[in-house]
Symmetry: C2
Subunit: 535 residues, 2 copies
């Protein structure tokens, strides 16, 4: 044991000096930091073997200069810019029966610092201010240089959608939570479909085919490390991955991955966040699945921050998609009412905490089999949504996503809430409301809130829905996908939009998805067009 | 446009029904959920191509039945169990000049529900209670089945260390934050080195060679998807990855990856959390680098939750490693003093919030170039550490990691803190202390706290240090590494310890690292021993 012990003690002693030692080595080698040396030299040998060595197909069935995967905001923007940069033959592949992915069901709000509506109202804004808002909301997980490149592209991209695509916006400017100033524009029809329509028409005009029901089965990366094409299934019928005819399409310049997120893929999302079981619905279209997240990783792409998956905490399981119940749960119950765990009759979270904290709290209760409800009395709804959104309450009641009860007893009975605990919870809220002091959960009483107690009573069931994947492929600020072994771009491979990470960090701010997809799609398309043909 | 619009509207309409459609398909196919079908069927074709097809070496320089990579708690536990399960020839490879990795500098506290010290004190505990503590602290990011397997292995593993290895523990039981009951045992020398020593002696007894300075350059995964061996550099001299002689070692049964975390690798940790720049030190040994994180991903391992990187918020940059300043910053300043951003003279976080929130807040300020300090007056230190840890303050002052000032002015001058702002901050603290109300940051005044104002004054500089990687390779509860494409185990590849994810989730509780490494190392070693030779 003696020699053994000595070696261990030498080692511990050595630790105290190792940093300096390394720094000296480094200074001699003119490296910036020890990690620079570690990360660089330790990979030189690996790099040579970095690529997954896929057999090249005996013959390619067809070829294109650039293949774009996905027909949402990002894919259509990348294709258009590549075509306009003289990339040659550009094609877009979409696995579903109709184009647009989640973009076509997106809310159509677009963060644009310096947009005309802001200017008209004299609102001071800048790419730097948006970048600082995004970095703060993202808990510092966003990549500063990517956020800088994207925010600087925002205004030019907005102008491009107006002048080149003919997208129509109304003359209002809006502000989502986490933004320092009102800065988003609204599409004329209140949907991303206005943008997607115009992008599809523009693609048609440019002669870019948008081929539907083409499923990408394999990204073909050659021994030399370059992505050279795709193995696809033409005539694919979602969700049967055995459907369609296998074809090999050669990409002479590049492949641009704009395949979106995996919100609809329960198995895969549970790998990254096991809480997101099949108990939870998604606001995404059903094609938002993981196959290209897996495949891009298999061929050496570096996947980052895939466990940051945004869920709306205020959604109702009694309606599909985003729905309308959230206006009650957020607008009335979170501000001047309470959120309750029906199993205990108690509050379980600060109803004004950020989305992540609130969604996690509801998810944890739901996974225990506890129903959670958002609750408000007549006074609360009168002071809030009845004023801010006239008519919405009637619509919510009519759709049976908000429920009305004459007495608190009736409500408690309906959801098996212990009545005494519920009354104690309300009494505690009223105490803090009267004192104006923050409660046990650190919630500060909302401005102008009244005591709770005037029936009739209203509630909606809470069940978060998976909405957006913040993580994804590591790309640089030019949209090049980074190799996990070498830290260098994978030749011939680009990505943009929800399939990439490092843009939103931990939390995506509302109105930044359209910006991310359009701006980064354009950046990737322009850069990919400059690639040299490999044959 | 008409046909185009119709297809889009068809599509949106279709979305409303697609879920039912899929469910019907699924019911017919007897699948549990849509995602089950998506994840399964969509991958059948990919699976065949899942492995990175590395060329097999012309000849293997040597062979072993099982190769364990890393000589910390996990690696040495895996090797011993594999050997005792008649795996045959088992070898351990360590890239550094001495064995033990971070384990040898670990604090030596080990969470064991049902340990003798608990029993003697009549403390009721169970694997289930520990599991629920871990899942709650991990924000639900931990994999329940893995946590169950590990916590059930805790007591048998503790007994194994005593009876088989001869590890000595004192007769006390301790409790770290987040644990429901006191449940950890302490090694006799207050360090993980007590365990590592005994593991190394045991390995020697079993005839398991622990080979130092052997760097793993490549994991060799064959066309059939199986890991068949390693490309290494013998005689490697950290950190020069070009040093040593290249050798190919065949693994007839399995490779077990116990390579630990990447806390010392600034470039790589910044990919997952860009805040963790080279401004920040680490408590880890310098060999805690990323090369095998990258390589395991390259050959098709699924990496999860790598962005959850634990930093101690209370460390001082004026000492190496964990140090002693934290006892002041946490024990005195966080409980009965304040934490200050020197640039503003204001508090910037709830000093009693969880580690993640506090570390992120300090890191964000540090990255802006702001110095943050923990501050307490004479009353605060007298009420806290002077009682709980007699003599520690003198040691902290002597080591110049806690600094003493006769007046608040002197302290403010030393760190360029705006004096008026600092006084206002203290006045606000005293107001809430007098009222007993939570302050703006939701901090509840600590039990028995007094108003701040009695000099002399004490402070320590705050600079979080990277401590533990919660994420890592996805493994199942048997320690098999999961393939990113197929969701099936990669034949011949196992992992345990800090190199794996899904055990601690978002936050690792103190005293659970030793448990993770020893218990999961043993589980992986036993299972790997059952693999059939491939040749």
């Amino acid at each position: 044991m003696v020699d053994l012990e000595r070696s261990i003690y030498d080692y511990i002693h050595n630790l105290l000096f190792s940093k300096e030692k390394i720094m000296n080595t480094l200074n001699r080698r003119k490296f910036l930091s020890s990690s620079a040396l570690l990360a660089t030299s330790s990979l030189i040998t690996v790099t040579a073997n970095a690529a997954a060595k896929d057999p090249m197909p005996a013959k390619w069935d067809e070829e294109a200069d650039i293949i774009v995967v996905g027909s949402g905001f990002a894919g259509l923007a990348a294709a258009a810019e590549a075509k306009n940069a003289n990339a040659g033959n550009v094609i877009v592949l979409e696995k579903m029966r109709a184009p647009g992915g989640n973009s076509v069901i997106n809310g159509g709000i677009f963060a644009v610092p310096g947009n005309p509506a802001q200017v008209k109202l004299g609102i001071k804004d800048s790419p730097e201010l948006l970048a600082s808002d995004m970095i703060a909301a993202g808990l510092g997980y966003g990549y500063p240089e990517k956020i800088k490149a994207m925010t600087e592209e925002a205004l030019p991209t907005y102008e491009w959608t107006v002048k080149e695509l003919g997208v129509q916006y109304n003359d209002k400017v809006g502000q989502e939570g986490g933004h320092s100033v009102p800065r988003h524009v609204y599409t004329i029809n209140g949907s991303g479909s206005e943008i997607v329509h115009k992008q599809l028409a523009y693609a048609k005009k440019l002669g870019i085919p948008v081929r539907l029901r083409v499923y990408v089965e394999r990204i073909i990366r050659d021994e030399d490390g370059r992505v050279k094409g795709l193995q696809v299934r033409e005539g694919y019928r979602f969700p049967n991955a055995q459907s369609g005819k296998v074809k090999f399409i050669k990409a002479k310049k590049a492949v641009i991955l704009c395949h979106g997120g995996f919100g609809a893929d329960v198995n895969y999302r549970m790998k990254h966040d096991p809480k997101l079981t099949d108990k939870f619905d998604t606001t995404n279209q059903p094609g938002a699945t993981s196959e290209l997240w897996r495949e891009a990783s298999r061929i050496g792409g570096n996947l980052i921050q895939a466990d940051w998956i945004q869920c709306g905490p205020w959604n109702s399981p009694e309606e599909k998609g985003m729905g309308v119940a959230l206006y009650f749960a957020q607008g009335a119950a979170a501000t001047q009412g309470i959120w309750i765990d029906c199993a205990t009759g108690k509050r379980f979270v600060n109803e004004l905490a950020n989305r992540k904290i609130r969604a996690d709290a509801v998810i944890t209760n739901n996974n225990k089999g506890h129903t959670c409800i958002a609750l408000a009395d007549q006074t609360a709804v009168d002071l809030t949504i009845q004023k801010s959104r006239p008519g919405i309450l009637d619509k919510q009641l009519e759709r049976k996503v908000v429920h009305k009860f004459a007495t608190l007893e009736d409500l408690a009975k309906q959801y098996n809430v212990p009545m005494d605990a519920l009354q104690a919870t309300i009494a505690d809220y009223n105490k803090h409301q009267a004192e104006g002091t923050p409660d046990e959960m650190g919630r500060k009483i909302y401005k102008g809130a009244q005591a709770i107690g005037t029936g009739p009573w209203y509630c909606s069931i809470l069940s978060p829905k998976v909405h957006h994947c913040m993580g994804g492929l590591e790309t640089n600020s030019k949209g090049q996908v980074i190799d996990v072994s070498s830290d260098k771009p994978i030749p011939g491979l680009y990505a943009a939009g929800e399939s990439t990470g490092g843009v939103h960090g931990a939390v995506r701010l509302g109105s930044c998805a359209v910006l991310d997809c359009l701006a980064n799609g354009r950046i990737a398309g322009r850069k990919a067009a400059q690639e040299q043909n490999w044959s």
